[in-house]
């Protein structure tokens, strides 16, 4: 069973090794990190029955034997489906949703409690940035707040389940009707997002990237939010209009944001490239992290287990899990 671990996730030796360690089937594995290494890519794709990758490009060489494209990510937005050969099953992975839900709750707590500012000032010896013993201003809390989740899927349900213990109200908006709304009290159709946004103290972007969600959160919708609203983006950067968000934050038209997904990413030539062409890192009301909300040891373990399980199921001719589509 020829399997190619490909690209910056699948083709990273640490990742392919960790996945292979969880498989029981005999797998003839090859590993290719560099997608532009055409000399190696042509023969590897010519042979492969399985490719483990989160990327499939339009101009990839032919892969006539390919049957399973197994992503190591949840989103398949980097997979060019029309250019896949016929009869290929595309599977994704889950297991990230619990980790991301933890991140979402952590950032909304940190924002309300002004944790980063108060801790940094106190590290410098200043007591009075916080209330209490320091006699400074009080901070906020999340008790009684309304959390709106845009894109109410696995992540949204995990967030909702955790918020209820904090005395929050959770509402959501989703493109398709939601059968299991979990701990949320109300789910709006995505077309009625504009009715939901004004209610929210926190807006969590947990949608997939697609035609309906690209630049969904634009200047107009940022304007519908409360002036104190806190936006958490763990979906994809392109769901939010970059310049509109920057301006809303800079002019304090919304309260703040936690941003984990970015409009641009580092490259080998520029490993410390900023995530935006705009200086979000100069804004005090932004919590920023490098696309790591799901990068927990637990999520990695669950994801790799899902990939390994599918490789074994494929080898045994069993039904695959996490099937997104078949070409």
């Amino acid at each position: 069973m020829k399997t190619l671990f490909l690209g910056s996730f699948g083709g990273r030796p640490g990742i392919s090794d960790a996945i292979l360690a969880k498989t029981t089937a005999k797998i003839d594995a090859s590993v290719l990190f560099d997608l532009d290494d055409t000399q190696r890519l042509i023969p590897a794709l010519a042979d492969a029955e399985i490719v483990v990758s989160h990327i499939w490009k339009k101009d990839f060489p032919e892969a006539p034997r390919l049957k399973l494209l197994q992503s190591v990510a949840a989103g398949i937005d980097l997979i060019d489906v029309p250019s896949l050969p016929a009869g290929v099953t595309v599977c994704n992975v889950a297991g990230h949703e619990q980790a991301i839900a933890e991140y979402v709750v952590m950032t909304m707590l940190a924002w309300q409690h002004r944790l980063l500012d108060i801790a940094a000032a106190f590290r410098g010896g200043v007591w009075s940035t916080g209330g209490g013993a320091g006699g400074g201003p009080t901070h906020g809390e999340i008790l009684g707040k309304t959390i709106g989740i845009v894109g109410y899927g696995r992540i949204g349900r995990e967030v909702a389940q955790r918020m209820v213990g904090f005395g929050c109200t959770v509402i959501g908006a989703n493109r398709s009707p939601v059968a299991d709304k979990g701990a949320a009290s109300e789910i709006y159709p995505l077309s009625e997002l504009d009715r939901m946004l004004p209610r929210c103290d926190v807006v969590v972007i947990a949608a997939g990237l697609g035609p309906e969600t690209t630049r969904l959160i634009d200047a107009g919708r940022l304007g519908l939010m409360k002036p104190s609203a806190f936006v958490v983006n763990i979906g994809r950067a392109a769901i939010i209009d970059e310049e509109a968000l920057y301006n809303a934050l800079k002019d304090n038209r919304i309260g703040g944001a936690a941003i984990d997904v970015w409009w641009q990413y580092p490259t080998p030539a520029e490993p410390n490239r900023r995530g935006s062409q705009l200086p979000f890192h100069d804004l005090p009301n932004v919590i920023m992290t490098p696309h790591c909300s799901s990068a927990t040891d637990g999520a990695r373990d669950r994801r790799f287990g899902t990939v390994a399980g599918n490789l074994d199921r494929f080898a045994r001719g069993e039904t695959l899990h996490n099937v997104v589509l078949t070409t």
């Binding site: 213990g165 990068a295 637990g298």
Partner: protein, 325 residues
């Protein structure tokens, strides 16, 4: 009927609840307790004292019947200096805010939040990113939280932490039933059996003879290697030297410390909270004793205090009674 609001917090409280006080209540506000000596009548005439402190060297207050603390702890109230018949009440409203702080700190420690967010903002470091396949950080799901002191705060912590898939243990001086989501409540005497099971230990206990120095060098070695310690109770519950050494040497993974061994005073407003440089350790989240100090907490506490003063004026049963002298 006369009331004396004494001290800064009491002065703020008066401003917040003035409109809710009983009609006809004659209130005197003295923000600086040092000035009480110059106004002995304010003490002599008061039926109600609203404050966080009372000392033997204050002017006599023989008429006091209600001593309403503006805090939960009454360690600054000298009970022996109060007249017989005075009922001492305290105030709450902080427990949900502190529970939020504890869950937040637990998440931030496991997720390496300060390190990752700090280096990304300062120098655009992506090394912890999924994209770069950096060293993964932890998550709280599947970890074990030990709550030392299963009272109002501890119960609120458990309610919030359980939906994360955290296994929750607790230890308490007096026997308490475990609420749903809490696996077991150990007697405090069996703390040494609970600690080795814990990935996170949250100290929510009051300060007393049994808890002073409770977390010493020996117990810091009982927790799992890499475990995190969160203290919102009182500094003295932890041995200052031992915890500094454990954090510096990474015997434990990290800590979030909100309460301290020493506090600022007028002469030294930026006095450090410890004689050791905890502020230089990267694995410690330090906050200035403000975990419960939310706008919501202040409002809830004011409401309780106003309610009690009205109850006293009507002759109704008081709430939050600590003791009657």
């Amino acid at each position: 009927m006369k009331a004396l609001f004494l001290g800064n917090v009491a002065a703020d409280t008066f401003a917040g609840i003035e409109g809710e006080l009983p009609p006809g209540l004659d209130s005197v506000v003295i923000a600086d307790p040092q000035e009480l000596a110059g106004s002995p009548a304010a003490a002599a005439d008061a039926d109600i004292l609203v404050s966080n402190q009372w000392r033997a060297d204050f002017p006599p207050a023989p008429r006091l019947r209600l001593v309403q603390s503006v805090a939960t702890g009454i360690d600054l109230v000298d009970l022996a200096a109060l007249p017989a018949g005075a009922t001492v009440c305290n105030a709450f409203g902080h427990e949900t805010a502190i529970a939020e702080f504890i869950v937040m700190a637990m998440l931030a420690l496991h997720h390496r939040f300060f390190e990752i967010a700090g280096e990304f903002r300062e120098r655009g470091s992506w090394r912890s990113s999924w994209v770069e396949s950096g060293v993964p950080h932890g998550e709280v799901r599947g970890s074990t939280l030990g709550i030392v002191g299963y009272g109002r705060v501890g119960r609120e912590v458990a309610r919030r932490a359980a939906p994360f898939g955290v296994r929750i243990l607790a230890a308490n001086r007096t026997p308490r039933d475990a609420e749903p989501g809490v696996e077991r409540v150990f007697p405090l005497a069996d703390l040494d059996r609970m600690l080795p099971l814990c990935d996170t230990v949250a100290l929510c206990t009051a300060l007393g003879p049994e808890t002073t120095g409770l977390i010493d060098a020996r117990r810091l070695h009982l927790v799992k290697p890499g475990a995190f310690l969160i203290n919102i109770s009182r500094g003295q519950v932890i041995d200052e030297d031992a915890v500094y050494a454990a954090l510096r040497d990474r015997t434990i993974g990290g800590a979030a410390l909100d309460v301290w061994w020493q506090y600022p005073d007028a002469a030294e407003p930026n006095r450090r909270g410890s004689r050791h440089p905890f502020h230089e350790l990267p694995n410690v989240i330090v906050t200035p004793h403000n975990s419960g100090w939310t706008g919501g907490m202040v409002r809830r506490r004011w409401d309780e205090i106003a309610d009690n003063i009205n109850r006293f004026a009507r002759g109704d049963k008081l709430i939050n009674v600590v003791t009657t002298i």
